[in-house]
């Protein structure tokens, strides 16, 4: 009888082992396939964009596309400079406004705030980071646009109803600040307490500790946070589309209306079907966005590797 039970147990066990090994094999197939799919998607999208950009690239030299200020698809004029300048303006302005605030808020939450205050502020910021940007765009239409038009622009002697580059930058700064703050808080809080104790232990003040030790040690993480913020501004579509004014001209000041590369695609989308050359031009805009984002990520990876070595701690 005991041999019978033993036999039974052995058989059950070997069946079970068979099933486990099967699951092992199929899970590895599945995971490998998922990994290759990601690569294939990136390659596929880039190749498609490139292929569909060929008509415009064979019609006009790249240099004139990038430097011409004249955008009038109906007249076969395809100058991307206004949108490029608009994108650079919006990106730079948003980062200039957003990064210092995000860093300050993150340092406050991670190093200064205590108890309930800390929980409350951190939770609110996490919620803000998760709010869809179209909501910021809508609220901005009601609040920020008149505010900029009536109060901010006049201070700088500009005359505007309120839509334009500056408004978009301000709102995008507001969109990405909670997001960057949240990631920076995470980097700072993951640092070991020994770093703080070590620095304080030789007589440094709290601020000296933050400046010379914690910001460096968390540097690679903070750099990632800023870069992700940059990526969101650079590719932002809905907020600029709502607030930039949509005139394709080189902005004369930061309060001018304008265009960014993504809004160019959105605004002229209706003409895509009818005019093949316009379609190709807009797809080329998509290609530019992909290439710039890719170059930035690649560059960031190199910088990050350096930072991680230079600012490593233990």
């Amino acid at each position: 009888m005991t041999t019978d039970t033993n036999d039974l147990r052995d058989r059950t066990r070997s069946n079970r082992l068979g099933r486990r090994l099967l699951a092992e094999r199929y899970s590895s197939y599945w995971l490998t396939a998922a990994g290759y799919l990601a690569i294939a998607l990136f390659a596929g999208i880039t190749l498609l964009l490139f292929y569909r950009s060929l008509p415009i690239l064979s019609e006009y030299p790249l240099s004139s596309l990038l430097t011409s200020a004249n955008w009038d698809p109906a007249a076969n004029e395809f100058g991307f400079l206004p949108a490029i300048v608009g994108t650079v303006y919006v990106t730079v302005l948003s980062m200039v406004m957003g990064v210092p605030v995000a860093l300050g808020a993150a340092i406050y939450i991670a190093e200064y705030a205590e108890g309930r205050m800390k929980t409350l502020v951190a939770a609110l910021i996490d919620v803000l980071a998760a709010v869809p940007s179209v909501i910021f765009g809508l609220v901005a239409l009601i609040v920020v646009v008149p505010f900029v038009g009536n109060y901010v622009a006049p201070v700088f002697g500009a005359n505007t109803v309120g839509v334009g580059i500056f408004t978009v930058s301000l709102v995008m700064a507001i969109v990405i600040t909670p997001f960057m703050t949240s990631l920076t808080v995470e980097s700072l809080e993951s640092l070991p307490d020994e770093l703080r104790e070590t620095s304080l232990g030789v007589g440094a003040t709290k601020f000296e500790t933050i400046r010379s030790v914690l910001l460096r040690a968390a540097g690679p993480g903070i750099f990632s946070a800023i870069l992700l913020g940059f990526g969101r501004v650079f590719g932002a579509t809905i907020v600029p589309a709502l607030l930039i004014g949509g005139q394709t001209q080189i902005p004369s000041s930061v309060f001018s209306t304008g265009q960014t590369l993504p809004t160019l695609i959105v605004n002229d989308f209706g003409e895509l079907m009818s005019l093949p050359l316009t379609q190709s031009a807009l797809i080329f805009v998509g290609l530019m966005l992909v290439v710039v984002v890719w170059l930035f990520n690649f560059g960031a990876m190199l910088v990050q590797r350096r930072l991680k070595r230079r600012w490593q701690y233990r």
């Binding site: 030789v202 010379s212 230079r310 600012w311």
Partner: protein
């Protein structure tokens, strides 16, 4: 030496979080000058808490309450106008985990000197860095790569780097929290050697749960148990003629306290063949 730079007077530390825990209960100890005092006791007995309260490191934590006082050369550490950073400069601290700041080896030692502006010229700074790195027997190992990140050193080297960094700001007292417990035996030995050489010049307070280490390094021993001082005495009397029964139990083999954290002392368990005073580095640290 009769000079007593550091004393505690009825010092109590209470964590007032969800559950109130009095980790250190009315401790009064003297730490004599140019002496190495070890605080021993099982894990969780309040050693590290006591150590951190000596230079106000608890200030950075929420929910910690401190009663009683610590005095440094007669001046109160808590009830004082002297800012905490200056107190911490005078009472240095080396944490349990070897910690390299995210800067070069050179800048790790220069860190405190730069903050306090304690140097006249670059040459003066260079000289000080060399002096302190030599003091911890690290100079020969790192002289050719002072610009490399501190974190690239081995853990044992980093621990000596920590000691050099602390010494560089010329503290009156050096607090060391189980500084060898994260190290391999060879590194631990070299850190111990360093401390052994330094104790004639500095007032050192060393927290350890290794009695072998206390026996090798200490001049004075304080036995802390559940936040209270059970016994304090010079090292010889403490180990050879303990007054308290609890001390006898603690140094006398397997303790009822916490067997994982307080393994049997090799010198005290007869069956161990290689036991004895001379056993190089304790293997009871990990």
């Amino acid at each position: 030496m009769t000079d007593i730079p550091l004393t505690t007077n009825q010092l109590s530390v209470t964590y007032t979080g969800d559950r109130e825990i009095e980790a250190v209960k009315g401790v009064s100890i003297d730490f004599p000058a140019n002496t190495l005092t070890t605080i021993i006791g099982p894990s969780g007995c309040g050693k590290s808490t006591l150590l951190k309260s000596l230079n106000r490191l608890h200030d950075i934590q929420e929910n910690v309450e401190i009663d009683g006082d610590v005095s440094l050369s007669g001046d109160s550490v808590y009830d004082t106008d002297v800012p905490a950073p200056e107190i911490r400069r005078r009472i240095g601290y080396v944490p349990q985990t070897p910690t390299a700041l995210p800067v070069s080896i050179y800048e790790n030692v220069a860190y405190g000197l730069r903050i306090h502006g304690d140097y006249e010229s670059k040459a003066d700074l260079d000289e000080k860095i060399e002096t302190y790195l030599r003091k911890v027997n690290l100079w020969d190992e790192v002289a050719d790569r002072l610009d490399a990140p501190g974190a690239e050193l081995s853990t044992g080297q980093i621990q000596r780097l920590c000691v050099a960094r602390s010494l560089a700001v010329e503290p009156d007292v050096l607090l060391c929290d189980e500084v060898t417990s994260a190290l391999d035996p060879v590194s631990a030995e070299s850190v111990e050697e360093t401390l052994g050489e330094l104790k004639s010049e500095y007032t050192i307070v060393l927290v350890t749960h290794s009695m072998a280490q206390a026996r090798r390094l200490a001049d004075e021993v304080v036995f802390l148990y559940l936040g209270e001082v059970v016994e304090s005495n010079d090292v010889r009397s403490f180990f050879e003629d303990p007054r308290e029964k609890r001390t006898k139990t603690f140094i006398g083999g397997p303790t009822p306290v916490d067997r994982d954290d307080v393994p049997a002392e090799p010198t005290a368990t007869p069956p161990t063949p290689d036991g004895g005073e001379g056993s190089t580095v304790d293997d009871d640290e990990r």
